[in-house]
């Protein structure tokens, strides 16, 4: 009777609860108010007031009265929807293949699931230009052989192409997880009733995996809608994020239209997440039986195997093209209007190690701190929600999750406004000119990822373990420190890694908040080097290093997570 134990457990916890949970609650709420609600609020407020401070909807009228903005709005919407569609086209077959079939490519697909996320999307855009662009390798070859070229990197199509390749892992990862949780009994019943092949997939398996798919698809939509770097690098200005950025950086921080755009971006992100949640509401996807009957793995027929491996190979080629491009570029002396570079050199790596070493340090510093802060907050929020009965504890979850819908640009502008003129205590340094705000922006934007992992991890820790510790005389805090946190370690680390990786490639907030070059993290360094006329080699080299650093970090933490999970499980069993 786990449910009853849980209730009596929480009741007892509450009875013992001193002011601790309240203090934790207050601190977290203050953090979210200062660093999320108020900054975003100031941005939203600006869009609704006139110079004199009176409320107005005039700016919105002006916005929708402009052809350029209407166009930008529809372009952003179109690109986000199309990218979600194409990301699904890539991800759904891959997920289905790994879960449903005995398949050797599982490792490949797992790699596929992380690699694109490790590279900042705008770096992918630059590299893809060299491979698929107007005078990219593919088009030069096609031109030589067949006298045709494909304009896949042009304009909105190009943005959609880059974004789909970059963000499909969100769908892949979520969908695989969801499919793995489907009860094999469902499939068997369907098979008994005569559903096979496509029909089985369409009517039974895919609907059952819907929560995972929707979670991934909504993420893709929101991420694409918010992405600034890719359209900027590809020279597409008729979209919302670049328009907001261009207005605010050229007309000035006082231009209301920039804020109107931000409000619309926030609104749409929230709408997308709400719709995804809405579709799921009132439906029960939980399966009673766990562990025993997963989906039955089928063997591929020869003919299916050819199709499956062919598809994976194709996807792999396209998805790894940016990585190949960036690697080539990092060694290229001169690469101009030719299929491959003219000559190769190590000089770019020397440049990067020579004067961008501090950027790697900065990335590590900001992202480790941000991810650390995220898991501390995530664990605390999870604990307050699942183990206490504070009246409004659910708010914390909603507030923290709302960060997912806030574009980095909006948050950064909000910081600039809110902390304008505020100096660091005990010095004359402006708060907006320190790296602390950059780190905090990362932390706030990545909190939802960490929170989800921590919640899941805590849900798997049985409350009776805490009760056991407490009945042996351990205080609440030491129970938390000695029992709960170690048992959650795997989940906490997973949250840490997700926060860390995604923070390491964040550009939109960075671009606005960095105030000196010595504060620049790698993502900004890559962006700056990529804007260099003497060649993009150093930028590419830094990109390769970023992929290596983040990739290795991810790999080792995964191994660490698995090992610690194994130890935790064996301890628990023992």
């Amino acid at each position: 009777m786990p449910a009853i134990t849980l209730q009596s457990g929480t009741r007892r916890a509450l009875a013992h609860a001193g002011p601790g949970p309240w203090i934790a609650f207050g601190l977290i709420l203050a953090f979210l108010l200062c660093l999320l609600v108020l900054p975003v609020g100031t941005v939203i407020y600006t869009a609704f007031v006139t110079e004199g401070g009176a409320l107005t909807l005039g700016h919105f009228g002006n916005f929708f009265g402009q052809l350029v903005f209407r166009e930008s709005f529809f372009n952003s919407l179109w690109v986000a929807l199309a990218s979600t569609f194409f990301a699904s086209v890539i991800a759904v077959p891959l997920a289905y293949l790994t879960v449903r079939f005995e398949f050797r490519g599982a490792l490949l697909i797992q790699t596929l699931g992380v690699l694109p996320l490790v590279m900042p999307p705008f770096v992918g855009a630059v590299a893809l230009q060299l491979i698929f662009g107007r005078s990219g390798s593919v088009n030069l070859l096609l031109g030589d052989w067949f006298d045709i070229t494909i304009p896949i990197m042009d304009g909105l199509v190009g943005v959609t192409f880059v974004e789909s390749i970059h963000y499909f892992p969100f769908i892949l990862l979520n969908l695989v997880a969801a499919m793995c949780n489907i009860d094999g009994a469902m499939e068997e019943s369907a098979l008994n009733l005569g559903a096979r092949g496509w029909r089985l997939f369409r009517r039974v398996i895919f609907p059952l995996a819907m929560p995972g798919y929707l979670a991934g698809a909504a993420l893709v939509f929101v991420k694409v809608f918010d992405d600034l770097g890719t359209p900027l690098v590809m020279g597409v200005t008729n979209m919302l994020a670049p328009q907001a950025y261009l207005r605010i950086t050229s007309v000035g921080v006082d231009d209301p239209l920039g804020y109107v755009i931000s409000v619309i971006m926030v609104g749409f992100s929230i709408l997308a997440l709400w719709l995804a949640a809405r579709v799921m509401k009132g439906r029960d996807y939980a399966t009673l039986q766990k562990g025993g009957g997963a989906l039955h793995k089928r063997r591929l027929s020869a003919w299916e195997a050819v199709l499956a491996y062919g598809w994976i190979l194709l996807v792999l080629l396209v998805v790894l093209a940016p990585h190949a491009g960036i690697l080539l570029m990092s060694f290229a002396q001169v690469w101009s209007y030719s299929v491959l570079p003219d000559a190769y050199t190590l000089a770019h790596y020397a440049t990067v190690f020579g004067d961008a070493g501090h950027m790697m340090g900065n990335t590590l510093l900001y992202c480790l701190l941000a991810a650390g802060l995220d898991v501390v907050l995530g664990t605390a929020i999870a604990y307050l929600i699942l183990r206490t009965r504070l009246p409004v504890r659910q708010w914390l979850d909603w507030l923290a999750s709302a960060a997912l819908a806030i574009p980095g640009l909006v948050l950064a502008i909000g910081y600039l406004r809110l902390f304008k003129g505020v100096t660091l205590p005990g010095s004359d340094r402006l708060l907006v000119q320190t790296w602390v705000l950059i780190m905090l922006a990362y932390a706030v934007r990545r909190l939802p990822y960490a929170l989800r992992s921590c919640m899941a991890a805590l849900q798997q820790v049985h409350v009776s373990l805490e009760e056991a510790a407490q009945s042996l005389g351990a205080s609440r805090l030491s129970t938390l420190r000695r029992v709960v946190v170690p048992l959650m370690a795997g989940g906490i680390l997973a949250g840490f890694v997700t926060s860390f990786i995604t923070a390491a490639v964040e550009l939109s907030a960075t671009l606005v908040l960095v105030s000196t070059e010595s504060q620049a993290p790698m993502s900004l360094g890559i962006y700056l080097y990529m804007q260099s006329i003497a060649g993009r080699g150093p930028g590419a080299a830094l990109g390769v290093l970023a992929v290596l650093v983040v990739g290795l970090g991810t790999y080792f933490s995964h191994r660490f997570v698995e090992r610690s999970r194994a130890t935790v499980q064996s301890t628990v069993k023992a």
């Binding site: 662009g133 001169v334 320190t434």
Partner: protein
């Protein structure tokens, strides 16, 4: 894990302390590429061990906005950029202070007819720059094109889809190039030529760098750029070349001391260094490729390096920065509404016009020629007339605060009008040109 968190927190604390304690740091806000700033930073820090240079890279317009946002004592110390207008704007907000002692007395007072230093002494010429045309030799060879020599060459149909430019609203140097053409040809004729060139454009990029970069890697055949962006690519080994059309202007890139700077003393030392002989010699670095303002008799230029005085002598435009400053907001906004945001429609009209012209040349038809003339006039006429842009009331509107809903509405309404009108004109021009081509058959 807790211990590691403690270690990280401690490291962070130390880091914060070292950052706030950095006295003797000169913060330089600049739009210049990393190669240039890094070279100066290294050379200066080596010569002045006690002083640290912080580079803050922002594009010119963003840099101006950034300085305006900060209170006195918190601003960057030195502003260093190409576009003189940006310095005029800063000076008009009283955000610059004079530092005449940093000027190198050996530098000439004028380049061509253009004074090297601001007559009011607020900013100083540190290097020279001219505007011109860059091309990728491999690309042109593959497409069987000859390199253009003058702006007027770029209107020719064979260059359709091969040209790139950045938007003047995003790039101070492009704004100067556009203004140079407008001053050289006159407002109306200048816009006609600009629109014809832009009809041939493959892209309007959002940063100046994207143009030379695209020409370097062969994405575009021809780019409209400031000289050093092309020269740096050329001297770094890319198959690109560059020419100064006769309608160019040689103007100084400037450096200035920001009012309310934190470390004015050290900042002045840095400024003086950039104008000294060793500082000027750095400009010849192949990755930098800029024209120095000191005479070549004092420096060691590489063989075949362009001589700014010669280019200035040949140049047909006497650049008027006051005029440029007055109509700056109109020019950039008009360009964005007519070109940047309407490029697709302008391209389509231009393509149709090129095709009709070729068809009518082969099989002349009087009515067809008439329609074609109409199409050209629709596609290539500025939506703001020469008289209008001299009207102070009209110009004043662009200087008012956009926070005011009424002003904002008036401005966005105007921009909207331009946008709609441009789209309708291009569409009509395309139809007329298609009709004209039909008549030739």
């Amino acid at each position: 894990m807790q211990r590691s968190i403690r270690v990280v927190a401690l490291a962070a604390g130390l880091w914060a302390v070292t950052q706030t304690a950095a006295a003797g740091t000169v913060t330089v806000i600049t739009s210049f590429p990393k190669e240039l700033t890094t070279a100066y930073q290294k050379a200066f820090e080596a010569a002045h061990p006690g002083i640290k240079i912080e580079i803050l890279n922002k594009n010119t317009t963003a840099a101006v906005a950034y300085i305006r946002e900060l209170p006195e004592g918190q601003r960057p110390d030195v502003m260093w950029a190409s576009a003189p207008d940006a310095f005029e704007v800063l000076a008009s907000y009283k955000l610059l202070q004079s530092a005449p002692e940093v000027v190198n007395k050996s530098a000439p007072a004028k380049i061509g007819n253009y004074p090297l230093n601001d007559p009011k002494g607020m900013y100083y010429g540190q290097a020279l720059a001219g505007y011109g045309i860059e091309w990728n030799t491999r690309y042109l060879k593959a497409h069987k094109l000859t390199p253009p020599k003058e702006w007027s060459d770029l209107v020719r149909p064979e260059y359709f889809g091969h040209i790139a430019i950045s938007s003047p609203s995003r790039s101070g140097t492009t704004q100067l190039t556009v203004e140079t053409i407008l001053q050289g040809e006159g407002w109306d004729k200048g816009w006609t030529q600009l629109l014809q060139i832009m009809g041939n454009a493959a892209a309007v990029t959002d940063r100046s760098f994207a143009v030379p970069d695209g020409v370097n890697n062969g994405q575009y055949g021809i780019g409209i750029v400031i000289d050093f962006l092309a020269l740096a690519g050329k001297y770094s080994g890319y198959p690109v070349d560059f020419t100064y059309p006769s309608m160019t202007a040689v103007v100084p890139a400037n450096i200035a001391l920001v009012a309310g700077a934190r470390n004015a003393g050290e900042a002045k030392q840095f400024m003086a260094f950039t104008m000294s002989v060793p500082g000027q010699q750095l400009l010849f670095d192949p990755k930098i490729g800029r024209l120095p303002m000191l005479p070549y008799s004092m420096l060691k230029p590489p063989a075949g390096y362009p001589v700014p005085q010669d280019i200035a002598k040949r140049a047909k435009v006497q650049f008027n920065s006051e005029l440029s400053g007055q109509r700056y907001p109109v020019v950039i906004s008009l360009f964005d509404q007519m070109v940047t945001f309407r490029l697709k429609e302008l391209q389509a009209a231009t393509k149709a016009i090129h095709e009709a012209t070729a068809a009518l040349k082969a099989r002349p038809n009087a009515r067809g020629n008439e329609l074609l003339a109409q199409a050209r006039s629709l596609a290539y006429t500025s939506l703001v007339g020469a008289d209008n842009v001299k009207n102070p009331e009209f110009l004043e509107l662009f200087r008012k605060s956009r926070r005011d809903v009424a002003v904002s509405k008036q401005l966005t309404g105007m921009e909207q009008l331009w946008s709609e009108k441009a789209r309708a004109n291009y569409e009509r021009a395309r139809q007329l040109a298609d009709e004209a081509r039909g008549l030739a058959k």
